[in-house]
């Protein structure tokens, strides 16, 4: 029973019982509600509160960057607290106070930042005029005169003096020179300004303002630096005051969860049919939970009406997978691909053993398998993951065992093969197969697994065809291909091995080939084109399958061998590299440990990622592709839960 039976139900209560019913839904989450309408809740009070709290989180994160590590951000679940503690968190401080503090701190820091920028800009401007030995608060605007200040090259300055010599009669010029440039201040008669400025522009004069300050440049710089120090101090004061936010982040998270649950409650109106006096709900409930739900209704609600029935033929009930404990982790993969249809077959238990083999071979190493097992156990304990993260970890935990097993069979420990006897074996037994030494043997095993799993996928296609009463698919696209490939392999295999194949396989081969030729083009009306399509589809250009697809799919399994090889070769390279530095004096062993541990961890992570991705690919394409289409909707209970806390009732 891999897909749980569900029933459609209707529940009617008087309006005054609505609140009680809502509480009941919270403690009984295994219900898939059907939406009856869509309500826009953006404008609701709670969503406004939520967005303000989110803004506060954002500000806190900017002020006090979070030190969450990668594992934590990936796997950490919600903190578990009881309801009393949760209430206490809400009572301790109001979210509005925290929000106001955050906004105040943000504004204050923004102002300080701008002030700092202005002051920092001022320093080079003052330094530019450091040769001026007078207070910089002299007047800038005059009735008859115009002040020009800036810099140009020495050469151009001389040219300038020559060119405008006659205009400078009534002017005052101050200049100072270094090796290349001249800094100058000109006080010129307003009548001549245009001409002089034009000349200056031609001579690439760069205009520079003199900052207006009460003291001379050297003193001004000291004062600006003092102001900058003050800005830093003010910033520290603001941060100190705002540290309250960081201390009370848990309270804020509790407030967030509080409003989130209110907003979710508010949204339950989407599931309601309401009349003047009654509220009705409809949804799906697993048949095994029905009685428990009715008992609960009986105890908590004084008046109610409950009706339920089996799903109708044309309905598409939500799908909830239900497998034994050791198969359950593999549901993660089925969900990743897409849920089966309610009346279909859950492929999880059928393909799980193959996934174990795939992953086990790809990451076939005792060391890496153990690392994975220990790592998963530790992450689970340390971060208490939930939902998807937990499912992934459960899967990885199961997958460490085949990795260890394959590692034993190939006698691989972090890519090395220790304790080998003179015959190249440990105790004369291990490795049973040595992928680095016996390439062809290892490759053949991978391809054999390919052939076997392809046959198996055809069997599954046949079974799923029979189960969904699609007999044509079951026989024509399942059974015929199965017999065809089995006979082909048996006949030619025996001929290769013994030179004397059994005739019976030739008959089944021809029989199934004829069957395929007659049926693979069955959607063509013309008998001639039907047969032509049938013949071509044996090869595999058209139609659902064919010899070429079979060969391609089987070859695809060679990745099992390649990934195993890559993992163990890289592991042994790391060990060799680390051993090179072991002989160094003093730090030799430390460096050995650092290189070895770091390198092996890196290799584990890369190998595990490859193993996961490629095993998943083999399952999705080479296996699911033959018999499984997905297409069902998942059974999704309404999430009355908070984002940060798991509250024990």
């Amino acid at each position: 029973m891999a897909i749980l039976r569900v029933e459609r139900f209707w529940l009617v209560v008087p309006k005054e019982e609505e609140a009680k019913l809502l509480e009941l839904f919270k403690i009984f989450p295994r219900i898939h509600w059907e939406r009856t309408r869509h309500i826009e809740t953006q404008s609701s009070r709670y969503s406004a509160h939520l967005s303000r709290i989110e803004e506060t989180f954002r500000i806190i994160l900017e002020l006090f960057p979070n030190k969450k590590n990668l594992l934590e951000s990936f796997f950490a679940g919600r903190e578990e607290i009881d309801e009393k503690q949760f209430r206490a968190l809400l009572k301790e401080i109001s979210w509005k106070k925290l929000y106001r503090t955050a906004k105040w701190a943000e504004r204050a820091l923004e102002n300080l930042k701008r002030r700092k920028e202005r002051l920092e800009q001022l320093i080079p401007e003052i330094k530019f005029w450091s040769q001026l030995d007078c207070p910089l608060d002299f007047p800038r605007n005059f009735e008859r005169y115009h002040l020009i200040s800036g810099t140009m090259t020495k050469k151009n300055f001389e040219v300038f003096l020559k060119q405008v010599n006659d205009l400078l009669d009534e002017s005052w010029v101050w200049s100072t020179q270094d090796k290349k440039d001249v800094k100058c201040i000109l006080l010129v008669n307003k009548q001549n300004v245009e001409k002089i400025e034009r000349t200056l522009q031609k001579l690439e004069f760069s205009f520079r303002k003199i900052p207006y300050l009460k003291s001379n440049p050297i003193e001004s710089i000291k004062r600006v630096e003092k102001s900058l120090e003050n800005v830093e101090k003010a910033k520290e004061r603001v941060l100190k005051k705002a540290s309250l936010l960081n201390e009370k982040i848990k309270n804020l998270q509790a407030w967030y969860d509080h409003f989130l649950s209110k907003a979710l409650e508010e949204k339950t109106v989407e599931f309601q049919h309401t009349t003047t006096y009654f509220v009705a709900y409809t949804g799906w409930i697993p048949t095994i939970d029905k009685q428990q739900f009715i008992d609960l209704l009986e105890r908590k609600i004084s008046q109610y009406g409950f009706e339920s029935r089996e799903p109708l033929q044309d309905e598409e009930p939500p799908v909830i997978l239900h497998n034994p404990r050791f198969i359950k982790p593999f549901e993660f993969l089925t969900k990743l691909y897409g849920m089966p249809k309610y009346n279909g077959v859950d492929p999880t238990p059928y393909v799980a053993p193959f996934y174990l083999i795939f992953f086990g071979i790809c990451l076939g190493d005792v060391g890496y398998g153990l690392v994975q097992l220990i790592l998963v156990r530790w992450i689970k304990k340390a971060f208490k993951p939930e939902r998807g993260a937990k499912e992934l970890l459960d899967l990885l935990q199961v997958l460490s065992f085949p990795s260890i097993l394959v590692g034993l069979l190939t006698w691989s420990f972090f890519g090395s093969q220790p304790f080998l006897g003179p015959d190249g074996k440990f105790l004369g037994i291990f490795p049973l197969v040595n992928p680095t030494g016996e390439l062809m043997k290892a490759l053949s095993i991978a391809l054999f697994i390919g052939v076997f799993s392809q046959m198996y996928a055809l069997v599954l296609r046949m079974i799923s065809g029979f189960k969904t009463k699609d007999y044509k698919t079951a026989i024509y696209d399942g059974l015929f291909w199965l017999v065809f490939f089995a006979s082909l392999l048996a006949y030619f295999g025996l001929q290769l091995l013994t030179g004397r194949p059994y005739k019976i396989f030739l008959y089944t081969l021809v029989g199934s080939a004829l069957g395929l030729i007659l049926t693979q083009g069955r959607d063509k009306k013309n008998i001639f084109s039907r047969i032509v399509v049938g013949v071509i589809s044996l090869y595999g250009i058209v139609g659902a399958y064919g010899i070429s697809s079979f060969v391609g799919d089987v070859l695809s399994y060679s990745r099992l061998f390649a990934l195993n090889l890559v993992g163990s070769v890289f592991g042994s390279v790391i060990t060799q590299l680390a051993q090179m530095v072991k002989g160094l004096p003093v730090l030799g062993w430390v460096m050995f440990a650092l290189i070895w541990i770091g390198g092996q961890l890196l290799n584990y992570v890369l190998s595990a990622l490859s193993a996961f991705v490629h095993s998943t690919r083999l399952q999705f394409l080479e296996m699911f592709g033959k018999f499984y289409g997905g297409g069902g909707g998942a059974f999704t209970p309404y999430p009355f839960e908070g984002k940060y806390f798991k509250v024990r009732k």
Binding site: L70, S73, Y337, L565, F570, R617, L621
Partner: protein, 157 residues
């Protein structure tokens, strides 16, 4: 010694092209990854995996070169005398690495970029998104296997 030089150039090119392809692939995915993270920093874990996927070709190139050195006995400290024909045969071993790894890493990078855009819009499709670029890697693996088979069955020393 010319034979050995040709063989070593082949091994080096195999490793180098794998690394170049991976660097480009991971780099392209990295640009897209940064874009996704700017909007959705909580997707860091997934984004990291998608960015890392085109990186494996670099390792395959390294493994290929390593196996060639192993087969030639150089890792054991021997420098075998190879004829030019033998050197060229070893060079041929690297050809699938040079082309297969280089090109597949770049295309895997492109597929990763597309997958990153996919999770940026719909984070719940993470699982599928990781599979898409992984399909390209098949050809890198096939290249490596071809090279390994050539190396151990096609080269006579």
């Amino acid at each position: 010694m010319l034979g050995l030089s040709i063989a070593l150039i082949g091994a080096a090119l195999g490793a180098a092209f794998g690394a170049i392809g991976s660097a480009k692939g991971v780099g392209m995915a990295g640009e897209a990854a940064a874009g996704v993270l700017a909007e959705k920093p909580e997707l860091f874990g997934t984004v990291l995996i998608l960015q890392a996927l085109p990186g494996t070709q670099g390792f395959y190139g390294f493994i290929g070169a390593f196996l060639i050195l192993l087969r030639l006995g150089i890792l054991g400290g021997n420098f075998p005398e190879l004829t030019i024909a033998q050197g060229l045969t070893v060079f041929a071993v690297s050809v699938p690495l040079i082309f297969g790894l280089f090109v597949s890493a770049i295309w895997q990078g492109k597929a990763s970029v597309a997958a990153l855009q996919m999770i940026a819009q719909r984070p719940q499709t993470t699982g599928q998104a990781i599979i898409i670029p992984a399909l390209v890697e098949t050809y890198a693996i096939l290249s490596l296997i071809t090279s390994i088979i050539l190396l151990f069955f096609g080269v006579k020393l």
